[in-house]
């Protein structure tokens, strides 16, 4: 009897008692399904986060004040205020930096109440440079962004995010109107295009004012919170980063051997950090789903042991008509593998289906969710289910092959 025939005969045995076989497979079905879903949904969620980060521009290089390890968070991200990065630093990078640095924007941020007549909203204001629209690839829907003279001249002009405009003005025209931020009057010069959620922050719920205005008028500080530079092509990112480091070290009088008092980070590094975190999470979830597979494996073993008992006479007969122990072992091993493999295939079908549904729903809800079903996860599902069949089938199969033919024939 060759392998195809054995598989065929196992198939017939298994399909004879469909309900029982299905229940036997259930543990494997659930386990494989869980692994596929976790891998796919995990990758989808990862893509969602990465897409959001990427939407901020993958050619961007950020400079944050304060030293940091390559893979650790910068101090400023932990809420520590460091004042070593200044507007002049940014200006110098523009002047002395390589051509690959196309432009850069500088930022300070704060929270303030904005008032129009009787309506007040508490919102984030971003003090930035006129280059913001270019660096961040942001569009202005109405009016204009503030220009360089306003940026430097502590001009009281403001560009509203789409959400803030909506909240304060509704359908009315905002450009040219006066609003109050803190106790100062500002003239609305423009309204930004709707950008949605990007980089964990709703870009529409903020207002933009010239960086000097934010520093001097609203915050009373001289430093900038961070700098973003736009590099012409991705290949030049390393070069630009090194270039910026050199300029800043020089400006900050950092002697050779001393550590930087700032951090230059590319978006790629940021993406990598996020990937590391989400990968760890995914691994953890897959490990949990794998427990279902092990439980399923013991279920298989249990049923196969019962099957061996039930079919004692059959085993005796097979031996009497010439089956060797290896024939019996092979027969029961193939049976358990066929069961687990079928369970695996069903699990893959369910898992893929559910993953597709999750992705479609997420996409329908407007998230940048990629449907990721890797060939490797399907291969893994198949491989693992076959492996479990072999692993947990070996004990019942060995027991079957060791049965004494005479006793087995007499078994009632």
């Amino acid at each position: 009897m060759n392998l195809t025939e054995s598989v065929h005969s196992s198939w017939k045995t298994i399909t004879r008692s469909k309900v029982r076989s299905f229940l036997t497979m259930l543990g494997i079905i659930i386990g494989v399904m869980a692994v596929i879903i976790v891998m796919s949904v995990g990758a989808g969620a990862q893509s969602l986060i990465l897409n959001q980060v990427k939407s901020m521009g993958s050619n961007l290089v950020g400079v944050l004040p304060g030293a940091s390890e390559d893979d650790g968070p910068p101090a400023s991200a932990l809420g520590i205020i460091i004042t070593t990065l200044t507007y002049d630093d940014g200006e110098t990078i523009i002047e002395r930096g390589c051509d690959c640095i196309e432009d850069l924007a500088m930022y300070v941020t704060g929270n303030e109440t904005i008032t129009l007549e009787n309506t007040s909203v508490n919102t984030t204001f971003t003090g930035t440079t006129a280059s913001y629209v270019y660096v961040e690839d942001a569009g202005v829907a109405q009016g204009r962004f503030f220009d360089e003279s306003e940026e430097k001249g502590i001009a009281r002009v403001v560009v509203l995010g789409d959400g803030v405009k909506e909240e304060l003005f509704g359908e009315r025209d905002a450009v040219g109107q006066k609003i109050r931020i803190k106790k100062y009057n500002f003239t609305v010069v423009g309204v930004m295009e709707k950008r949605g959620v990007s980089g964990f922050q709703n870009q529409d719920d903020q207002v933009f004012i010239p960086i000097s205005t934010a520093q001097k008028l609203l915050l009373g500080i001289d430093h900038v919170s961070f700098i973003r530079a736009k590099v012409d092509v991705p290949d030049n990112i390393e070069k630009a980063m090194e270039n910026m480091r050199m300029i800043l070290r020089d400006r900050h009088d950092i002697k050779p051997g001393e550590a930087d008092d700032f951090s230059v980070r590319s978006m790629a590094q940021g993406l990598e950090a996020i990937s590391n975190i989400t990968n760890a999470l995914k691994f953890f979830l897959v490990a949990i789903s794998a427990i279902a597979l092990v439980v399923g494996g013991f279920g298989i073993m249990n049923i196969m042991l019962a099957t061996v008992q039930e079919r004692t006479r059959e085993i005796g007969l097979r031996k009497a008509v010439g089956a060797k122990s290896t024939h019996i072992t092979t027969q029961f091993l193939i049976e358990s593998v066929v069961i687990t493999f079928m369970g695996g295939v069903i699990g893959i079908i369910f898992g893929v289906t559910i993953s597709v549904i999750v992705a479609k729903v997420a996409q329908f809800l407007g998230y940048q969710w990629d449907l990721v079903i890797t060939f490797s996860s399907i291969l893994l599902g198949c491989g693992v289910s076959i492996g479990i069949g072999l692993l947990f089938g070996i004990v019942p199969a060995k027991r079957a092959s060791k049965l004494n033919a005479i006793e087995a024939l007499r078994y009632e």
Binding site: R16, R313, L317, K319
Partner: protein
């Protein structure tokens, strides 16, 4: 050369401190083409003897030659191979697989040989036709009568072209009419040249054979041919 040659064959089972002696030293030959009944009351050791002769069990001491080959030297796999190539079994309880068709049941012994798939089916169909069950090939055995089941079992015992067919109380679960039919088939097979060894406790059934080895308490008490008169009686029954 005798097909089966047994010299001072002894069998005992040992478990913990109890030794149960079953066979106390049997000596006999069986030639090719014989039809032998091994007859005795229950506990006489006839089933154990059949298991040993059928390569299902091992002897404790003595000699057992099959076609001149010393069987006591064979390991489990070699014994399985001997069963596969040399032996056909017919059991009292039929031992058919109900979840397979009649045809598949007959094919079963060939699954452990290198006979091609095509030839397996051909042989099985031919044998089912021979035992008059050609029209029942796709039936599940549990839809067959007892006599039909035993005929399927006989077809199964013959499918590997065995040198010896062992029949262990083949009529034990059958009514007398079906029993007679089965015995007639065995007799016909013997006429065609098959060696048949029948194990039974019934004198009447035993007398269908040409020779009876009587066993009692693990010893041969008598080994003699069946007289013509006895055979005539039985064959008279058959024709009635």
């Amino acid at each position: 050369m005798a097909l089966i040659k047994v010299e001072d064959l002894k069998k005992q089972y040992e478990n913990e401190e109890v030794i149960t002696k079953i066979l106390h030293g049997l000596t006999f030959d069986i030639e090719k083409g014989e039809f032998v009944s091994i007859m005795g009351p229950s506990g006489s050791g006839k089933s154990t003897l059949m298991h040993i002769l059928g390569f299902l069990d091992k002897l404790s001491s003595g000699k057992f030659y099959f076609e001149g080959r010393d069987v006591s030297q064979l390991d489990d796999d070699q014994l399985a191979e001997m069963r596969s190539k040399k032996i056909g079994f017919v059991f009292q309880a039929f031992n058919l697989l109900n979840r397979a068709t009649t045809l598949e049941n007959v094919i079963l012994p060939l699954l452990y040989t290198d006979v091609s798939k095509k030839e397996r089916t051909e042989r099985a169909k031919e044998l089912l036709n021979q035992v008059g069950l050609g029209h029942r090939m796709d039936y599940s055995p549990n839809k067959l009568s007892g006599g039909e089941k035993q005929r399927v079992a006989i077809a199964r015992a013959l499918v590997n072209h065995p040198d010896v067919v062992f029949a262990d109380e083949p009529t034990g679960n059958l009514d007398s009419k079906s029993g007679l039919q089965v015995m007639k088939i065995l007799q016909d097979l013997n006429e065609e040249g098959h060696t048949i060894i029948l194990v039974t406790h019934e004198r009447y059934t035993a007398e269908h054979a040409k020779r009876i080895i009587r066993l009692k308490d693990g010893l041969i008490t008598d080994d003699s041919p069946v007289t013509k008169r006895q055979l005539a009686n039985i064959n008279g029954e058959l024709t009635k």
